[in-house]
C-alpha cells in the first residue's frame, strides 16, 4: 500500500486550494481603525524596545530601569563581540532617545545596544554587528536614530532589515537630516521617520511621497541628557523614538501584529489619514 503523501512536500510559498482557513488572523480588525482601538489604554507593557545608539545613562529619572545594556566591540580583524556595557552613554544621544520612548510607552522594557565608542574606523562594522545581534535577540522594536553613508554596508544592512521584518522585529529608523544617501532608513522593510514642527508627542503624519514614511515630533523636543540633566533638541533623531514609542503602545495592546500590520495601523491612525476618532 502506498504511503500517504506528506502534507506539504514543497516549500510553502503558495497557498494550496482549500487551506485559506489556515490563514485566520489572531487580530480582529475593526471596520474603522481608530487610535482608541490601536493603543487606547496601552502603556507598552511587555514590549521589548532596543535603543541602538550611544548607550543609555543608567538611572536617569526620565529613563528609569533598563532591562539590559550591551556594547558592541570590533576586533582587529573586524570580528564583533557583544559584551556587557559598563560605560553607559558616551554621548547623551541614546539616553535622549530612551527618555522619549519611555515618555510615551511608560511600561515598556528598554534595552541598550551601544554601537559607539569603537572608534570611527570600526563604526560601520559596529552598527551592522549591533543591529544583527539585536535582531537575533528578537526585540519587538529597534530604534535606530542613526544611519551610515557607506554604500558597501547597504546590501548587508538590507538583508538584516528584511530578516527583522520577517521575524516580527520592527526597525524604526531616522531619515537623514541632510540631502545624502544613507541606510537603513531608505529600505521599505523599516519604518522611516522625519520631523514635523508641531509640539504634540502623539501627532504623526503619513507621507505619501516616500522614502520617508512618517513625520513625528522632532523640533525643540525636551530630552533626557547626561548627568541626570535635560536639554532641548531638534532633528529626525528625536522624531524616531516618538514613533518607536507609539509602536510600543500598539504592540502592547496587539502583540501579534506583524511589521506590515503595524505599519498599516500607523497609516490608518496618522493625523492626515481619515479613520481617526480624535
Amino acid at each position: 500500500m502506498a504511503e500517504p503523501a506528506p502534507e506539504r512536500p514543497l516549500p510553502a510559498w503558495s497557498l494550496p486550494a482549500g487551506s485559506a482557513e489556515s490563514l485566520a488572523l489572531p487580530t480582529e480588525w475593526p471596520g474603522r481603525v481608530t487610535r482608541e482601538w490601536a493603543w487606547g489604554g496601552s502603556t507598552g507593557n511587555g514590549v521589548r524596545v532596543c535603543i541602538l545608539d550611544s548607550g543609555i545613562e543608567a538611572d536617569h529619572p526620565d529613563v528609569g530601569e533598563l532591562a539590559g545594556a550591551v556594547a558592541v566591540e570590533v576586533g582587529d580583524g573586524d570580528e564583533i563581540s557583544v559584551v556587557e556595557d559598563v560605560e553607559g552613554d558616551l554621548c547623551g544621544h541614546g539616553t535622549a532617545c530612551a527618555g522619549i520612548v519611555r515618555s510615551i510607552a511608560k511600561d515598556c522594557e528598554l534595552f541598550s545596544v551601544r554601537v559607539l565608542g569603537a572608534g570611527f574606523t570600526g563604526s560601520g562594522t559596529a552598527l551592522l554587528g549591533g543591529l544583527r545581534w539585536a535582531v537575533e535577540q528578537g526585540f519587538d522594536v529597534i530604534n535606530m536614530s542613526l544611519s551610515t553613508t557607506k554604500s558597501h554596508f547597504a546590501g548587508l544592512l538590507h538583508e538584516v532589515a528584511d530578516l527583522a521584518y520577517f521575524r516580527r522585529t520592527v526597525l524604526v529608523a531616522s531619515a537623514h537630516n541632510m540631502p545624502v544617501e544613507s541606510y537603513p532608513w531608505r529600505f521599505s522593510s523599516v519604518i522611516s521617520v522625519g520631523s514635523h514642527e508641531e509640539p504634540d508627542a502623539e501627532t504623526f503624519y503619513y507621507n505619501p511621497s516616500p522614502p520617508v514614511e512618517f513625520f513625528a515630533r522632532g523640533v525643540d523636543v525636551e530630552i533626557a541628557w547626561l548627568g541626570k540633566a535635560r536639554a532641548r533638541s531638534t532633528g529626525n533623531s528625536f522624531a524616531t523614538p516618538h514613533m518607536s514609542g507609539i509602536c510600543a503602545l500598539i504592540l502592547g495592546k496587539h502583540p501579534e501584529l506583524t511589521p506590515f500590520q503595524l505599519k498599516s495601523a500607523l497609516y490608518l491612525t496618522a493625523n492626515n489619514v481619515e479613520g481617526r476618532d480624535d
Binding site: 554621548c91 559607539l116 569603537a118 553613508t149 557607506k150 523640533v219 548627568g227
Partner: protein, 213 residues
C-alpha cells in the same frame, strides 16, 4: 608611488598653498557664525592616522586655544555626529555637568546650545562643523536645519581640498621619490616666464613624446 601620488605631487607644484586652504576654512567658520548669529563656530577634521577629530579653524569664543586640539572620533557629541552622519541641535546642554566642565577647560566658555553637522564628501564624513550659542530666543526651525545641511556640504568641499593639499604636500616632502622630482619640475616651471618657460614647455613635450615610444 601610485598614480594618485604622482598626480598629487605634480598638482602640488601648481596649486594654491595650504595657507589659501586654511583661509578658506577660516572663512567657512566665520560665515557659519554670521548666518546663525552665533557666538562661535569651528571645523574639525577627522585624522585617520590617530582616529581623532582635530580643530582646524575656529571663529569667535575660544578661537586662540583650540586649533590643533583633539577629540575622540566616536564619543561625545562630535563623535556621534561623525559616526552617525546625522546633525544634532542641542539647547540647554550646559545642564550636563561633564559637558560644561570639559567645554570650560578647553575653550574658557560653556555654550548653552550647539549645532553640530557632519561634513560629508562622496560618502565619507571628513569631519564636523560646530556652531555654538545661536540666540536662545529664536526657536530652531526645520529650515535652519536644512540651511545647516547645505552649508555643511559646502564646508565639506573646502575640507576635502585641504585634505588633498596635505596629501600632496606629504608627497613633495619626501624628496627622494620620482614624484617629488616631477613636482619640483612642475613647481619650477610655474615660476618661469617668457622664453625660458616656452623653452621648458618644449623640452617637456619632447620628453613626453620620448616616453610614449
Amino acid at each position: 608611488m601610485t598614480d594618485d601620488g604622482l598626480r598629487a605631487a605634480v598638482a602640488a607644484g601648481v596649486l594654491a598653498s595650504e595657507d589659501s586652504h586654511r583661509a578658506l576654512l577660516q572663512a567657512t567658520v566665520e560665515v557659519a557664525r554670521g548666518i546663525f548669529y552665533a557666538k562661535a563656530s569651528s571645523v574639525l577634521l577627522y585624522d585617520e592616522r590617530t582616529d581623532e577629530l582635530v580643530f582646524e579653524a575656529v571663529a569667535g569664543e575660544g578661537s586662540e586655544k583650540l586649533i590643533g586640539e583633539r577629540l575622540p572620533s566616536s564619543t561625545g557629541i562630535g563623535g556621534w555626529v561623525l559616526v552617525t552622519r546625522q546633525p544634532i541641535v542641542l539647547d540647554d546642554v550646559s545642564q550636563d555637568p561633564r559637558f560644561a566642565e570639559e567645554a570650560a577647560k578647553k575653550t574658557g566658555f560653556v555654550p548653552k546650545g550647539l549645532m553640530c553637522v557632519p561634513l560629508i564628501h562622496q560618502e565619507e564624513p571628513l569631519g564636523v562643523l560646530y556652531v555654538l550659542d545661536r540666540p536662545q530666543e529664536s526657536r530652531f526651525s526645520l529650515q535652519e536645519m536644512e540651511l545647516l545641511g547645505l552649508f555643511g556640504h559646502q564646508a565639506a568641499i573646502a575640507l576635502d581640498l585641504l585634505r588633498k593639499a596635505r596629501r600632496a604636500k606629504a608627497v613633495l616632502e619626501d624628496a627622494d621619490t620620482d614624484s617629488a622630482l616631477l613636482a619640483r619640475v612642475a613647481e619650477n616651471l610655474e615660476e618661469l616666464d617668457g622664453q625660458r618657460r616656452a623653452a621648458g614647455v618644449e623640452l617637456l613635450r619632447s620628453l613626453e613624446a620620448l616616453f610614449k615610444h
